[in-house]
């Protein structure tokens, strides 16, 4: 863990009394290693270390009797602050059915997260309508329909060959007919560099004006996480992030990178494959995990 590594660097100070700038630089190197191993983006790490260095060279560390502990405390605080305030609520303001849209790379966990979010909304007394708008992946529509059936929730009868924008339009009418107050749109996984597919998202957004556009990010994503999220953000202005597969041992540095650069809140965290495995985001816990 980072604290153990820092103990190795800072314990040497006990005998020498005062902390030197070199000690701080060595400690910063350990933090850098730790963050990069946790998949935090290279540039984000660089910027973050500057912030830590400013505080670390100040009196709170340099004059402390336990500089090592102070240093770890600062790193943890700065990281927690960067991860943002505690998990924000979903924005459900708007005319029913309020649309929530899920977007992201292939296999990140969108369809599964749509089901889980529906469960959360139902627990809050809402009546969600599920919309399968992925007409490309084999059995994607079946996948969401199967989840809907198991959850006893209404789902639009999408068919392969339909246009996703049209599916959303028709689904909205159907959701109104069925008296649903929220509609959750599952979109196909797509590469951020696939122009045509990114255009499709822009079209769906223009038609549906979602209250939430949630970027689903796999917790094990590496250095490209922030670049991919930034592209999605540029094209459709995401309103929040859902971090999935956090039940793994992935340190989740992608979360820090995305939050630090885009400033968009992490709203939900997927912690398993079942429909009840979704939690609110805790920035301090995430900070601890990244620094582990």
């Amino acid at each position: 863990s980072l604290s153990e590594r820092l103990n190795g660097v800072i314990k040497d100070l006990k005998g020498h009394g005062k902390l030197s700038e070199k000690n701080i630089q060595d400690a910063l190197k350990e933090v850098r290693m730790s963050l990069l191993e946790a998949d935090v983006n290279f540039r984000v790490v660089k910027d973050f270390l500057k912030q830590v260095q400013d505080r670390a060279l100040g009196a709170e560390v340099m004059k402390s009797l336990t500089p090592g502990q102070q240093f770890v405390k600062i790193v943890h605080e700065e990281l927690t602050e960067l991860m943002g305030g505690k998990g924000q609520e979903l924005n459900l303001v708007g005319k029913a059915p309020v649309p929530i849209m899920f977007v992201g790379l292939q296999g990140s966990g969108k369809t599964t997260s749509v089901g889980k979010t529906a469960v959360i909304l139902k627990k809050k007394g809402r009546r969600p309508f599920l919309v399968p708008a992925d007409v490309y992946r084999p059995a994607a529509i079946d996948q969401l329909k199967t989840l809907a059936k198991a959850l006893h929730m209404p789902v639009f009868e999408s068919a392969v060959g339909m246009d996703p924008v049209n599916i959303c339009k028709l689904a909205r009418e159907e959701a109104e007919r069925q008296g649903c107050d929220t509609m959750i749109i599952d979109t196909a996984g797509r590469l951020s560099i696939d122009e045509a597919m990114m255009d499709e998202l822009v079209k769906i957004k223009a038609e549906m004006k979602p209250s939430e556009i949630l970027f689903v990010a796999d917790a094990m994503t590496g250095q490209e996480a922030v670049n991919v999220a930034a592209t999605f953000n540029e094209r459709v202005d995401i309103t929040g992030v859902v971090l999935t597969k956090m039940d793994s041992d992935a340190r989740g540095g992608a979360a820090l990178s995305i939050k630090a650069v885009l400033g968009k809140p992490i709203k939900l965290v997927g912690v398993g494959e079942k429909m009840d495995a979704m939690e609110t985001f805790h920035p301090d816990r995430m900070a601890g995990r990244i620094l582990d």
């Binding site: 191993e37 966990g109 250095q223 490209e224």
Partner: protein, 278 residues
């Protein structure tokens, strides 16, 4: 990197950034750069382009020894078990492999071994149809070992050349799910003693350092004979595979470069390293 006129610390910093942002990992990057620095000093190199070639050569050394395609002709039926964490592209890759073997005139049987996830069997059925392969399946919720058993049995009795077993995505941190894989493997060997002839771990190129944990844990549980790296058509360079090659020396069989049936290529080490520095 190409803009630099001389070999100095700035150049090494740029190279470190290139390696780390390619997901090579800071420890592996450090090791590669140290070795590069030694070579540069020993050969008294002055040109940044030469240094870059030394570095590329190092990475090439690590991955090219593992660029070994599968040899499906070595057994009949040649049984392939496909494993990996959730969402990496196992099912899609099986469809692509089945189609490739089908084009080569081979008879392929596919086992719908993911009996857990919603519509996993339906998804694989679409791929089996596209590939002209037969599918062996049971109801959702069935024991995956039973499906694998049936499939290998069918492969033998129908004279199939290849049997490919799809399994549910699973995190390597879930011990019970890793045990399930061991059982599937054991059960198959009851019909064909050497089955599975290939145990391939599918890795997503967008994955960071967690890929190394995945490879190690899967390898410890069921001994991998191959790796497949998917989603290389995205912006990630797949550098996570370098550390895995270096430590585990498991052959990289193929790469996935898209969602269509023929978006499958043999792993080409030179192209891989060039793309990383491109």
């Amino acid at each position: 990197i190409t803009g630099r006129k001389e070999i100095d610390d700035d150049l090494y910093e740029d190279l470190e950034e290139a390696l780390v942002t390619a997901d090579i990992g800071v420890q592996t990057a450090y090791k590669l750069l140290e070795n590069t620095r030694e070579t540069v000093e020993r050969k008294d190199l002055k040109d940044p382009a030469a240094l870059r070639d030394v570095l590329k050569g190092q990475i090439l050394e690590i991955v090219k020894t593992e660029a070994i395609p599968m040899d499906a002709g070595s057994a009949k039926p040649f049984v392939i078990m496909v494993v990996g964490v959730n969402g990496v592209g196992k099912t899609t890759t099986i469809g692509k492999i089945a189609a490739k073997y089908g084009q080569e005139g081979k008879k392929v049987v596919i086992a719908a071994g993911d009996t857990f996830r919603a519509a996993a069997i339906e998804q694989l059925e679409v791929w089996a149809n596209r590939a002209g392969a037969e599918i062996v399946k049971q109801d959702a919720g069935a024991d995956p070992s039973a499906v694998a058993y049936d499939a290998v049995q069918a492969g033998v009795s129908r004279g199939a050349d290849v049997v490919i077993v799809d399994t549910a995505g699973r995190l390597h941190t879930k011990a019970n799910l890793m045990e399930e894989l061991k059982k599937i493997k054991r059960v198959m060997s009851k019909i064909v003693p050497d089955a599975p002839h290939e145990t391939v771990l599918v890795l997503d190129a967008t994955t960071g350092q967690n890929a190394i944990n995945q490879a190690k844990v899967f390898n410890d549980a069921i001994e991998l004979t191959g790796l497949i790296l998917t989603k290389l058509d995205g912006t990630s360079k797949g550098g996570c595979i370098v550390g895995i090659c270096d430590e585990l020396q498991v052959p990289i069989r193929m790469i996935g470069i898209g969602e269509k049936v023929d978006d499958l290529r043999p792993f080409n080490a030179v192209e891989f390293v060039d793309a990383m520095f491109g």
